[in-house]
Symmetry: D2
Subunit: 336 residues, 4 copies
């Protein structure tokens, strides 16, 4: 039985608590939160669990095998480091840390102490996203051309971070999971509209050497909720619409045929488009977070790296950090 | 009766011909196209109209008062200049010219010759767009925060231009019409995917000094057709979805209230969102191109500048040119 | 403090339990279910509550003020009668009983014993439905012309009832709440497709003397989920789409103007349609079942009839019974 | 070359004229319409065609091989009879006639005179509908269970007929084409709301001996446009949404498995639902009316019955007549 302690019972913590409580072979043993009302809420929902007000106290508890960190980004590093140093396995809410240096330090420390370090890139465990990965692997899409992602609505306020660190982390972690080639540069633009302290409307472009282009629109000030990703392949193209209740993934038998052989013909015809059937494949509808909890537990038991380990966490933080630097440099392209 | 000649009977020319043929006080007298099959098509649809294979011949015809140019972008300048020099009024298909210098030269020449020069920014005459302008003018939206535009689908090939010159021209002309403040810089990224000669997926960001941000996604390789603009205001926000058959414009009584007065409170509450009714106003469903034809005729008769005259045409070409330069400079911000 | 016992912890019971547990002034004291695993589930979720396997035992408990019945339809009458006879207030899951005679008997008995008898017509407490009622009351819709309702998807099996008793009860209770004029007849058609014992696709038509017509399509075998009601008024018409996450109620400024004065003109023009704005009003998003629980408690405390009392319950059962008779009589119209 | 005359240049006539004008091997030679402005419109659009004000004159023209009738329903019989009697082939706008007796008389007469008699059941020539027929033929849907059709919006006025004769004719002709088993009875309900002379909201149920059920909702007073057909099969189910610009036909790998073998098990499990992929097949996007014109011409040249000949026309009129009788008999079931 793996004994798990949770730090942070705010917005996302309750979801983690519920899923770990329901994971086989795992015992949710302790919850820490600085706010009395959040501790009270945790006690009501999880009667047998110890609660405390200090993360350090929780980390110090000998009986815990693992610590789950669901606190604001800027605290991830300190909590995770302390937990790893005490020999605990650690799952950190996304993003792994607030800087690439910190993320790398955590990765190195976990390696040195031989504990599992995992980041909660939830969407990597989402059935639709895993189905898309399978479609890519099957070759159905052909050569990948571009990825365009939109994640917008009238959103929650994040007081200590801009919309890129909050929302784009999801989409960058999806891209990191789907696209094997590594990006080479990042640029970003945004605005802190309506008197906000941080950017609440932003665009991130991720550049690749092979011509593939990825672009992300994240926005806390949109009147409608849009969660949509286009993934263009030379053979087929797909739309992943997370707001569609029934058909989240649609694969279009549409593609581009360019005749490269004949320069003269090319001037005339150049391009033909194919349009065929569309299909919406089924996929596993299991809650992604249940799979996150199980993967964390399995990686501990099997003494193996988790699917979304330090390496993935570092890559995503590197993209976020580069996007942040580009924002500060008025959209300048930042090499990775 | 204003006698009009049309140069170019390809993709857009037939629409212009039909609308000018139906405009009161206008007589469509001649059509020039280099392709015999296009001339034959023009003759079938417009039996009484003279056809010729050479634009110069058409321009030279004494009886014509005005010339409409619906040819590829790179020919706009030469044809328009020739027509103006012969004292014809000129309507040019968008964009006005392929460079800001050429656009300005045409504007100056038309001024000197005292003829009307108009550019076919069709969407400025669209009922939905004019309704949005009225909503802005009424103050219903409050301070404008951002504009986000997406215009994508599996598109027609443009052999001599990238997707920005083709598709973004529409959206930039809408922005130019809706937003009174003038932009200060442009940046753009894109990719010429699938072996194309020109960018077929691109993003354009237009920067303003007052924090307003405009962003455009144009794409010829998308599996679904999306024509959607978000316009965020501090009081209300709207969505303009041109593919919606019934409710193209939706105004959301959603907005952001930030309490700026009290630093302490601000840390606590900072922001509240309002969510109220949505409404979809009706608007004039008349074909925009009919209004384009009428505006051109009216401006000639009334000896006044048309709504989308040289100035608007020059501003849009300046944005396109800056976007092109940014594309070539790997996304660098180009000051206007 | 009102002490409540719940009979039936199957599909809907857990929702009732949760809402009564969270209702102020109410104490959920006991839950009865014949199935051990359901009792175990109840005990897990509601640790302080007594569980028992026999409804009669629960009804016999002196300390209970009220009984909530969430068991199959055919048991409603016996359980409700027993509870009323012991002086308990009773809330019955919809429909109130399996025959009009039973429903009336319960109503009479509750009146005689001076206890509250309420039926869980959940949708009457739904914010969207109450908003529609307010729109009708305001006169915005004008004279009501027809109601058309569709409630279909690939559904749960109901072993002891056809799809009308299961699904149409919702829509008939909405109609009963919205339309003040009383219907005069009912007809119904349906089929027990794919070897089912009971009709799983059915249509119910409810007739009114004033020309208003109501029609209901209910279906357990549909590939897509549709929950949509059209309500046509002479001034305005509305669509209530319960599957729309954001705008469930849309009011269209569309209507019909018939010139009745001039016979001759009437032959010529007869009718003109108005088409104006659409708007989607906001409404209370509170969970309807929370309001059901509160209304039951309030009606007990205030010794007043609940909003959906015996009278509403009887009317809806009378419609269901007539629909059932029509089904058996091959669609014959059954007078009420 | 088949010389065709057209009677009626009102709402649908211009579409027929255009398509016959563009059909190979056909010459549109004459158009008759009683209204001078309609004749003028016909002359403008079809300069070489003779126009006349009297249908009888057109029918009398020796040079015509065939007559196309696009006039109000109540005139179909007289015009078609006169044309057939003069040895002309005849295409009649749907429905074939205003009574089954008239439809049968036309069929018999055409047979006796050995001319082709065809009815314009346009949707039978629609690519989506033909694709659905192919899906049925392939066995993909399995045993057919039900058909549910909705065709509603704020509609055109039909002064001489109710909404069933106008709109349901489309859907009944689709059903007639798709479903090989013949129906045995029809029932219908409706209301002439808002002071109309004829029913403008109506429901038609078509009964079959094998348990298959078909139902039609037609409505001229709906605030939104809905054109949707559900076709439930035991193996798969499909949705045909004619308003969807891209995916009109969607096939859902959803079905019902009922274990019929074991009575005891059946009480327990009875039914399981399958849910799999959805796909939207492509289909021929050619204008249906072009295929109607071509089929008429081909059937004349090949001296063979057209796809939608007298038999189909009679069957559909029989259904309409029965629906009308049911309406007059307050929804009573009318055996066919």
């Amino acid at each position: 039985m793996i004994k798990v302690g949770l730090i942070g019972y705010g917005y996302w913590g309750p979801n983690l608590a519920r899923n770990f409580a329901e994971t086989e072979g795992v015992c949710l043993a302790a919850i820490a939160d600085a706010h009395p009302d959040r501790r009270a809420a945790a006690a009501r929902r999880h009667p047998g669990v110890t609660t405390c007000d200090d993360a350090a106290d929780l980390i110090a508890r000998e009986e815990l095998d693992a610590v789950v960190i669901a606190t604001p980004i800027e605290t991830h590093y300190a909590f995770a480091r302390a937990a790893i140093e005490r020999g605990k396995h650690v799952l950190v809410e996304k993003p792994l840390a607030s800087s690439k240096a910190h993320a790398e330090a955590l990765g190195a420390l976990a390696h040195a102490r031989d504990v599992r370090l995992m980041v909660d890139h939830t969407f990597v465990y989402n059935g639709a996203v895993r189905r898309i990965r399978a479609l890519i692997d099957s070759g159905d899409l052909g050569e990948l051309l571009y990825l365009d992602s939109v994640r917008v609505n009238l959103g929650l306020l994040q007081q200590h971070a801009n919309v890129i660190w909050d929302l784009a982390t999801h989409d960058l972690s999806i891209m990191d999971y789907l696209i094997d080639v590594r990006p080479v540069a990042v640029s970003a633009d945004g605005t802190a509209a309506a008197g906000f302290d941080h950017e609440n409307v932003a665009y991130v472009t991720v550049h690749f050497d092979n011509g593939f282009l990825a672009h992300f629109h994240v926005n806390w000030l949109a009147p409608v909720k849009i969660r949509r990703m286009l993934l263009g392949g030379r053979q087929r193209m797909l739309v992943y619409d997370d707001t569609d209740p029934s058909e989240k993934v649609r694969v279009y038998d549409k593609g581009v045929d360019v005749d490269m052989r004949n320069g003269e013909t090319r001037r005339q015809i150049l391009v033909s488009y194919r349009t065929g059937d569309m299909y919406a494949p089924t996929f596993d509808r299991q809650e992604a977070l249940a799979l996150v909890a199980r993967e964390f537990a399995d990686s501990i038991r099997q003494r193996r790296p988790p699917l979304t380990g330090a390496a993935a966490g570092i890559r995503v933080v590197a993209l976020l950090e580069a996007a942040e630097r580009s924002l500060r440099a008025r959209g300048q392209r930042i090499e990775l």
